[in-house]
């Protein structure tokens, strides 16, 4: 069954990709969506089987891969609780995104290719989550990277999309460098790449030391940190996060599937998969906690200042991934996975909702041109509201009710507090403050988009639609229309764009887009309530597939009441602030930004990471490349090597010059004769 789940999407991708135009849009879309629906339908019974305790972990061997000395690894599919959780997340969101794309990509000229990429991505992601050894995990890891590259650059005529695609791939490769070194080191220490064998042997190695780059360091710490660097790349953690916001150049369904619900959570999955190994590496775990907490707050601060609706959600994703990592760092892998699970639903919902808004607003992505859309696209509004309530963590502890994010985020904050270490407290405070900002930027997005007066008139996209009539296919081609780059031209931090509809009438999205929104809304509302006991409190549910820290979970439930309400309190504060600034007094944000000048600009410019990296890496890489080429290869090696020799030869002998100008045949003959003569002479 698992073989079917994993390879159906691959088969569909091959059919749709190679069939392409011969197959036609409808058939290609049906094949891929059908395959994913089947995969999804087969995944849920597995998950429910693990939930009820009737399934046992198993491994299906597919094919041997490499056998080189003692370094051997196979293609194999592992299913246990952790995999089952990822299976339902991946196949469910993927199937819904496939369905959603029927509507969203309807007018794109290149649909089979899009659906083939989506299915290919799903295959790679499934290979990743079913990996039984580190190398197959790396295969999936790179496979999703490839699909991400192709999908970000799907509209390959756009320079910005191409740049974003390359950036995503290359930045991820920086992380992969760490991952690869981690695999090499793990093999060196354990003589295997099989994950169960490593996890079993890891505790015995916890006191070992290893030479690394000339230093003697704790073996497990260095291995785990190297592997975690890979996770930082894929999960866009601080330092290696710069590709994620740019990845929003891809079509919005892609953002929902890859850059919110599944691929970016691969890093969290990896840390949880290897959790018994990480538990032998205290320094590495501290590093994970710190990076997680720092990313969580960093991304939230940037998210509060962005105008592009997709970028706000992208930074929000980055921030939520930070929560997952510090939960793992303090030892609450169940909580990390739970947040991954709930986040997949509500973040995919928010992205698809944003896609629906963008679709309605004729591919305008700048929230300053939105406003008053509540009545125009009510279904999208309600779906987005469910997503917002989920991400901000609305729920009341003592009543035991709440939206999905309430259950998982509160658990993470409580466990960080309960951990009792300095770093745990740091993570708790950062997480709480980030929750405040989360609430602020999420409601800011809602208020700017759905409340207030319409501010559509000035949008080029809207004007375009009104003047040219938005039913002509080429006008509607998202390849030309979707464009996430307004922050460059408009730097005025004010939502007070001129009011008016510009004569434009937004339209609700087609049914194929609304069904996924409906299903995901259900998830955003119920996923927490339904599954919290299993994910958080049940060692039996996890059944050894992650490191389950029973005493820590007990401590988590015993934190002071104030801690339990911390997330709720900051959520209300954030909501109030957003209400004040974007509904009550809309001149407030501009004044605030002016007051906070440098701080605002620092946040608005994403802490200047892109500029810094450009200066540190990109410009020097090209400069050194040119310099090495001109001055070393040509200026030194060639000049004193072959060209120098040529100069001497041409100066020295006219005969040699004649040789060079043509008589290659005789030259060759002379060489061969000389060769034979030389050998003969020496031998006799």
């Amino acid at each position: 069954m698992i073989t079917l789940i994993v390879f159906l999407p691959l088969l569909a991708a091959i059919i749709a990709g190679f069939g392409n135009r011969a197959l036609g849009n409808t058939l290609a879309k049906s094949v891929t969506t059908g395959a994913l629906s089947i995969a999804c339908a087969l995944s849920w019974p597995i998950f429910l089987g693990f939930l009820s305790g009737t399934m046992e972990a198993s491994v299906v061997q597919v094919l041997p891969w490499v056998q080189s000395g003692t370094l051997t690894f196979d293609w194999s599919l592992r299913v246990d609780t952790l995999t089952a959780v990822m299976l339902v997340v991946v196949t469910t969101v993927s199937a819904l995104v496939h369905l959603y794309s029927w509507g969203y990509m309807d007018e794109d000229p290149d649909q089979p290719r899009f659906f083939a990429y989506l299915s290919l991505f799903t295959f790679a992601m499934l290979m990743l989550v079913t990996a039984n050894n580190l190398v197959q995990m790396f295969f999936g890891w790179e496979g999703v990277g490839l699909a991400s590259y192709l999908l970000i650059g799907f509209w390959f005529r756009k320079p910005s999309a191409n740049a974003a695609a390359i950036k995503a791939f290359v930045v991820n490769r920086v992380g992969d460098l760490g991952f690869m070194l981690g695999i090499f080191g793990t093999y060196l220490v354990f003589q295997t790449t099989s994950i169960p064998e490593i996890l079993e042997a890891a505790p015995a190695m916890s006191g070992a030391t290893i030479g690394f780059l000339g230093y003697r360091v704790a073996t497990m710490d260095v291995l785990c940190i190297l592997l975690f660097i890979g996770a930082m790349g894929k999960s866009a953690q601080l330092g290696l996060h710069t590709w994620l916001p740019d990845a929003m150049e891809g079509p919005t369904p892609v953002s929902a599937l890859i850059h919110a619900a599944t691929m970016v959570t691969a890093g969290v999955f990896m840390v949880c998969r290897l959790s018994p190994m990480f538990e032998t590496a205290p320094v590495a775990l501290d590093f994970v906690t710190f990076i997680g907490a720092a990313t969580c707050i960093f991304a939230a601060t940037v998210g509060t200042t962005q105008w592009d609706i997709k970028r706000v959600i992208a930074y929000s994703t980055c921030s939520q991934l930070g929560y997952m990592f510090f939960a793992a760092g303090v030892g609450a892998y169940g909580a990390a996975m739970f947040h991954l699970f709930t986040h997949a639903f509500f973040k995919a919902l928010l992205f698809l909702g944003a896609g629906s808004v963008i679709h309605a607003m004729h591919h305008e992505q700048d929230m300053r041109y939105y406003g008053a859309l509540r009545k125009e696209i009510p279904f999208t509004f309600w779906a987005m509201l469910a997503g917002t309530l989920a991400i901000t963590g609305v729920g009341v502890y003592h009543l035991g009710v709440g939206f999905a994010g309430f259950w998982s985020k509160d658990a993470i904050l409580e466990v960080a507090y309960a951990r009792g270490t300095d770093l745990g407290n740091f993570a708790f405070w950062m997480g709480t403050f980030a929750a405040l900002l989360t609430s602020f930027y999420s409601w800011r997005l809602m208020f700017l988009t759905f409340w207030g007066k319409p501010r559509w008139a000035d949008s080029e996209h809207i004007q375009h639609a009104v003047h040219h009539g938005h039913d002509e296919p080429e006008e509607h081609n998202p390849a030309i229309q979707e464009d996430a780059g307004h922050d460059v031209t408009h730097t005025v931090p004010s939502p007070n764009y001129s009011a008016g509809t510009g004569g434009y009438h937004p339209h609700e999205s087609p049914i194929s887009m609304l069904i996924p929104l409906g299903v995901l809304s259900l998830g955003a509302v119920l996923a927490g309530q339904l599954f919290a006991p299993a994910f958080l409190d049940s060692a039996a549910f996890w059944n050894g597939s992650i490191f389950y820290n029973e005493p820590l979970i007990h401590a988590m439930h015993a934190v002071p009441t104030l801690v339990k309400y911390a997330a709720f309190i900051v959520m209300v504060l954030g909501l109030a602030a957003a209400y004040l600034a974007y509904i009550k007094d809309t001149s407030l944000p501009a004044r605030g930004a002016e007051q906070l000048g440098p701080v605002y600009r620092f946040f608005y410019n994403k802490w200047y990471f892109d500029e810094l990296y450009r200066m540190l890496f990109i410009i020097p890489a090209f400069a050194f490349g040119k310099a090495f080429w001109r001055f070393v290869d040509k200026g030194m090696i060639d000049r004193f090597g072959p060209d120098g020799a040529a100069w001497i030869v041409t100066k020295g002998s006219a005969a040699a010059k004649r040789v060079q100008t043509g008589y290659v045949y005789s030259y060759a003959l002379v060489m061969l004769l000389g060769l034979v003569a030389a050998i003969t002479w020496v031998l006799f």
Binding site: G69, F139, V170, V189, N549, P551, A558
Partner: protein
């Protein structure tokens, strides 16, 4: 001695090559294609009949010529794989030249067929002088291919190519003569078991190094390669990258390592150092190239650096990784040069800026090009990954620092290859003539598809390629064991931690609960 299949494989191109010299253009093309296909069939037969786990040297043939000169052929798994690579690429090269070569077609085809003869000869030779003759004579057809059918600056390029490679071979010849004198045999299998005095090994190693480093090519004697590639016709580049560069690696694995283990160990850091420099510097240089062929040529230097590092890791993973890298690079860079050739044939320029947006008018071409780009940057599932992964895993066991530097190649490689791909295949169709180019024709499809299949095969199930070499690599590893350098990891097992890192005392939790 049974059926002399190796001699037949040498005779077929020889006879066909001689015939081509006297044939008309059309007949020469057909003769060359048939001859190379026959050799491909023979190569497959060779592979199928190779007894994995059997004798180390198989299909041996021997005949005394005059004096000490012997005609001795025979192959082990390593040679087998390289011969199969050569005969696999040859028909593709003939097809690639089908329309592109219009002048002196007979001579051109003859040069290619002689080339094939010499390549097979290099890998099959069991006599050190026979090897030398094949090894050096291999220069001549390539020299002619570049010099006669090359681009505008072909004389400079062919001359540079010749000068570099000849320089190394003179030293190698002297070393060979000394060795034969010392050991009293010209048989390569016997010499591979002979223990030279360590002090002599150093000099012999350096003499061989001079030749193999140029052929590889290693930094800083690599500058002939970009020029040679740029000037060579497409098929010339394919053979150059696909097989000729492998002769250096083959030399290391056949001569330097088994014959001079102590000296090899002594020079590990020279090799690692040059390899690290090559990976970083040539990758950066590749990033700023405007000429497609030059870019791929520089990327070849970076990939070959992984081969040298893997070979000198002195362990099975490194050696097998290096071998797979040679095979993989032969296929992938050959295919990349073909991809360049396909569009060069249409537009007659290699300037990257003259293209753009080819995904629109040449979608099938764009797909192949993307696939080989990904194989070149080592995407798992392609041969490039298995190669890189094994080599670097081998090097890691010797030095984590060297591995760190060498592994930056995966970042830089992704950088320059994707940058190239973007400028060629993505973006708007800014050049009208590039936008008017037709997609792949059947001939081009037939050239690229088999290579793609092989790359995928080697990436997903490399066992087919590893199995024939396993025994030979193990034997080499055993011979090298006495000199193998100490790794820098040196894991020392200490007292394990009593508790998990996030251990929380149950009492603490209970107390907190009480307080609450």
């Amino acid at each position: 001695m049974g059926f002399p299949i190796l001699s037949i494989m040498l005779l077929v191109p020889l006879a066909a090559g001689l015939a081509c010299l006297f044939l008309s253009a059309g007949a020469a093309r057909m003769t060359a294609l048939v001859a190379t296909l026959v050799n491909l069939a023979l190569g497959i037969l060779l592979w199928l009949n190779y007894d994995i786990g059997g004798a180390q040297w198989q299909f041996t043939e021997e005949a005394s010529l005059f004096a000490v000169f012997r005609y001795a052929l025979g192959i082990d798994g390593i040679a087998l794989m390289l011969i199969v690579l050569s005969v696999f690429l040859m028909p593709i090269c003939i097809l690639a030249s089908w329309d592109a070569i219009r002048t002196r077609v007979g001579e051109y085809m003859a040069a290619f067929l002689f080339m094939e003869l010499l390549m097979i000869g290099v890998f099959a030779a069991q006599d050190i002088f026979l090897f030398y003759i094949f090894f050096e004579a291999g220069l001549i057809p390539m020299y002619l291919i570049i010099g006669v059918w090359g681009g505008d600056n072909r004389i400079y390029a062919s001359y540079k190519f010749f000068l570099y490679t000849l320089l190394g071979s003179v030293l190698m010849l002297i070393a060979m003569l000394w060795m034969v004198n010392e050991a009293g045999t010209t048989s390569i299998p016997v010499l591979m078991q002979y223990d030279f005095a360590p002090s002599a090994q150093t000099w012999l190693w350096l003499a061989f190094f001079a030749s193999f480093a140029v052929k590889m090519p290693m930094w800083p004697v690599h500058t002939w390669l970009p020029d040679a590639h740029v000037q060579a016709p497409t098929a010339g580049s394919v053979i150059l990258a696909g097989v000729l560069l492998k002769m250096g690696g083959y030399g290391f694995i056949r001569f330097s390592l088994p014959m001079f283990p102590e000296a090899s160990a002594q020079f590990v850091w020279l090799i690692f150092g040059l390899s690290m420099v090559a990976v970083v510097i040539t990758s950066l240089i590749a990033l700023v190239q405007h000429d497609m062929k030059k870019l791929i040529a520089y990327s070849s230097v970076a990939h070959m650096a992984i081969v040298t590092a893997g070979l000198f890791a002195f362990n099975i993973q490194g050696l097998e990784g290096a071998m797979i890298m040679m095979l993989s690079h032969g296929l992938v860079s050959g295919a990349l040069f073909l991809c360049v050739g396909v569009i060069y044939d249409r537009l007659h320029t290699r300037e990257i800026e003259r293209y753009g947006g080819l995904s629109i008018n040449m979608p099938r071409y764009a797909l192949f090009f993307l696939f080989f780009t990904m194989a070149s940057i080592g995407l798992p599932g392609t041969s490039g990954f298995v190669a890189e992964f094994l080599s670097l895993a081998g090097v890691y066991q010797v030095s984590s620092g060297a591995t760190l530097i060498l592994t930056t190649g995966i970042i830089l490689g992704a950088g320059y290859m994707l940058y190239l791909y973007r400028r060629v295949a993505f973006g708007e169709q800014v050049n009208a003539d590039a936008a008017a180019m037709p997609d792949l024709n059947v001939r081009e499809w037939v050239m690229l598809a088999p290579i793609a299949a092989a790359v995928l095969w080697m990436g997903i199930y490399p066992e087919s390629f590893l199995a024939p070499m396993r025994q030979d690599i193990a034997a080499l590893d055993a011979r090298l064991a006495r000199a193998a350098p100490e790794g820098d990891a040196d894991v020392q097992i200490g007292e394990p931690n009593a508790r998990a890192a996030n251990y929380v005392a149950e009492e603490h939790a209970a107390a907190a609960e009480g307080a609450h």
